[in-house]
Symmetry: C2
Subunit: 419 residues, 2 copies
């Protein structure tokens, strides 16, 4: 299958971009030859699309279900009782809705941890996105739950190893956090990750309480020092939040090659604190951007997330030059891809063909001195006209296949959670 995008505006030049299979094959002012499909992108600006690096996508079914509460009443009285009602078909329906929301806002990838991960994989496969999926280990030592998660994980791990999934799916280990998974399990996960060479996605150093509790429970070790002890601090680690780090933690992370994932909206909404964007960036530690789940955001828009990332970085560092637009846009695109699909995230010959076309005919896109600044500081989903992932159109002129049905099914599913 070959495709050519004609008359695309890319970095200020108008070019044709061709795609063979799932990779960009050529970029030039005019490409001759014949292609299976031609797409006229006149007037559109091409950019790498967004990679959303920390989600719990089925929680989209709980958007607006309970907001503005203290953490424990929120979890105990609202979120956990609702989650207990989720059936596999709900997870599938919810994931499809979240995928639709992500596609409509320019996102082609999500890194997720939740329950019933086979349904999440199935929905992502069907909608055409890339995903990194790990079943959440969150059993507080309950042997039965632990065994169920282990069995689920073993199934998707085997399916992945047997080539039952497309190349767009990665299977990861996803221990929820150091305070919900016993040490023996963390050590076992570390060993399996080393054996499989699989990524480990964990919430870490999200709140000050987590750090204090960890130091009490583990002889003064910080969460970063503790996971190092467990064998989890290495280049396979994907550490979500990482708000509360000591200078020693920062050194250890840097030596390890681990990647951090910042979630500015969630951190502000839950009052977790502000990620030290400028300091981490100056330390040369790789990090990426994610929206977190819909219960603590409540959206999957990487546009809003970029704006919150830039503004919270400036306020945290008391420096209006921190986290400039170009840096934040790279964070949401190229840097996210590097941490999961390093051959994606760039529009260049030979790279995986992920791309978004932006329609600048929006009032918020004028003035147009700096399109990247407009995307970060004024952008909304509605400027994303067309989206390609792995060489395939997932949205054309804002239409996604089956979108009305996806919304309708999700609405019906939500009825079972109404209070």
């Amino acid at each position: 299958m070959s495709l050519v995008l004609r008359n695309v505006s890319l970095n200020g030049s108008v070019v044709d971009i061709s795609i063979e299979g799932n990779r960009f094959s050529a970029i030039a002012p005019h490409l001759g030859g014949s292609f299976d499909e031609e797409f006229d992108a006149k007037g559109m600006l091409a950019f790498p699309p967004f990679y959303n690096c920390h989600t719990h996508v089925p929680m989209v079914l709980l958007r607006g279900y309970a907001d503005d509460l203290e953490l424990f009443p929120w979890l105990n009285e609202h979120i956990w009782p609702a989650e207990a009602k989720l059936a596999p078909e709900d997870i599938y329906v919810g994931t499809r809705l979240a995928c639709l929301e992500m596609l409509k806002s320019g996102t082609v990838f999500f890194n997720d941890s939740y329950f019933m991960s086979e349904e999440i994989i199935s929905a992502a496969e069907g909608m055409g996105l890339r995903a990194c999926i790990g079943p959440t280990w969150i059993h507080f030592g309950d042997a039965e739950k632990c065994a169920a998660t282990a069995a689920e994980h073993a199934r998707i791990r085997a399916a992945c190893q047997h080539g039952e999934y497309s190349s767009r799916i990665l299977v990861a280990e996803a221990p929820h956090a150091i305070y919900t998974v016993p040490e023996a399990d963390l050590r076992e996960i570390a060993e399996r990750s080393a054996h499989d060479n699989s990524l480990v996605h964990i919430h870490l150093a999200e709140t000050e309480t987590e750090v204090n509790d960890c130091q009490k429970a583990h002889g003064g070790l910080t969460p970063v020092e503790y996971i190092k002890e467990c064998g989890l601090l290495n280049e396979r680690a994907r550490l979500a939040h990482a708000v509360w780090l000591t200078p020693h933690d920062i050194e250890l992370i840097k030596e390890s090659g681990a990647v951090l994932i910042t979630n500015p909206t969630s951190n502000l909404k839950l009052c977790s604190g502000m990620f030290h964007f400028k300091e981490i960036d100056e330390a040369g530690i790789p990090f990426t951007l994610g929206t977190d789940g819909c219960a603590s955001n409540n959206a999957h828009s990487m546009f809003t997330e970029m704006k919150f990332a830039a503004l919270s970085a400036k306020t945290q560092a008391k420096d209006s030059t921190a986290a400039p637009a170009e840096r934040v846009f790279r964070l949401a695109t190229y840097d996210g891809a590097q941490a999961f699909f390093p051959e994606a995230g760039e529009i260049a010959s030979g790279k995986l063909a992920d791309l978004m076309l932006v329609n600048p005919d929006q009032p918020y896109f004028v003035a147009d001195y700096n399109p990247i600044s407009n995307l970060v500081y004024a952008g909304e989903s509605s400027c994303v006209d067309t989206l390609l992932c792995d060489g395939r159109f997932l949205m054309k002129h804002r239409e996604v296949e089956g979108e009305d049905e996806i919304i309708e099914q999700a609405r019906r599913t939500c009825n079972k959670f109404r209070k």
Copy 2:
């Protein structure tokens, strides 16, 4: 002129809403009788629209012109030289673009201070929005500039008093700030405001530096204490930013009846600090919400502004229950109207007919347990389908009259600022 909106979803009930002239005339499950115009709003949710209470709308022409800089290089090397090139026709074109952006995101009112205010009024009149307009006094004591601003202000004040503007336009006094307008001028403005019963729109206590400088220059008085001395602290005062307030300032403001205007995005982007939302609200002080100008935001979307208001309030107070969605939505709608057009801001018989219709068929509007939470935490401009101001449609099914031409003209105007 009479109008009926049929099958509107209002606070969970489906009703008809009728409008006679510029006011709501009846709301009931079914309205009989004949109307000049019928509009079927089946499936749409009705809400009061947004009132943007602090703007410098022509700065939309400088969106993305210079970002991520320190305050003084930003002003001296970029913003002020560019502003020096602005001609009256540019102000008109820029204001029309900003009005388009505001309409597309559900806003029917803006409270503005800038230069060449006759052009701003003319554009707002033509586009059908409400506006409160004051020419900015920012002359650092320069007698010539001061005289020009005085003449401009005298002209629009007279035009307003002679009924040359529609009832949608208010003329205000707009001294820029205490550090750019000499004390004698502030006192004169206070007297004229008392005489005219006109509002006074001023930036106040925006930065810590402003407070420190004020205390040095004025014998230890804070900005709030100082404007009280100048006769400006009263129920006509509209105080933008108000980030840095002492307990005594809060008492004085409360006694005075002055209204504050918070601008959370601008405060974060320029590292000014965070407005004490929860504390001010608990003190019972009225306040409203604004986007500020496009050079420090860079958008006029009240959706993003609501989300930043809620999240920065929570983080500032270290309390995830602060600034709940319902409170923030009221801030952006009803509270804004109360401060400028107290007969607007509510969908009720007899009130000024300002209204937005929201189309919930968006992925980010499902789940739909709480539409207000969705508007505040997940909403984007694209859900605003239709907008009425003063009984007149300003947008129907997302179409605004002349929008392509407005964007095209603004693009041409921007060419003169390109570096």
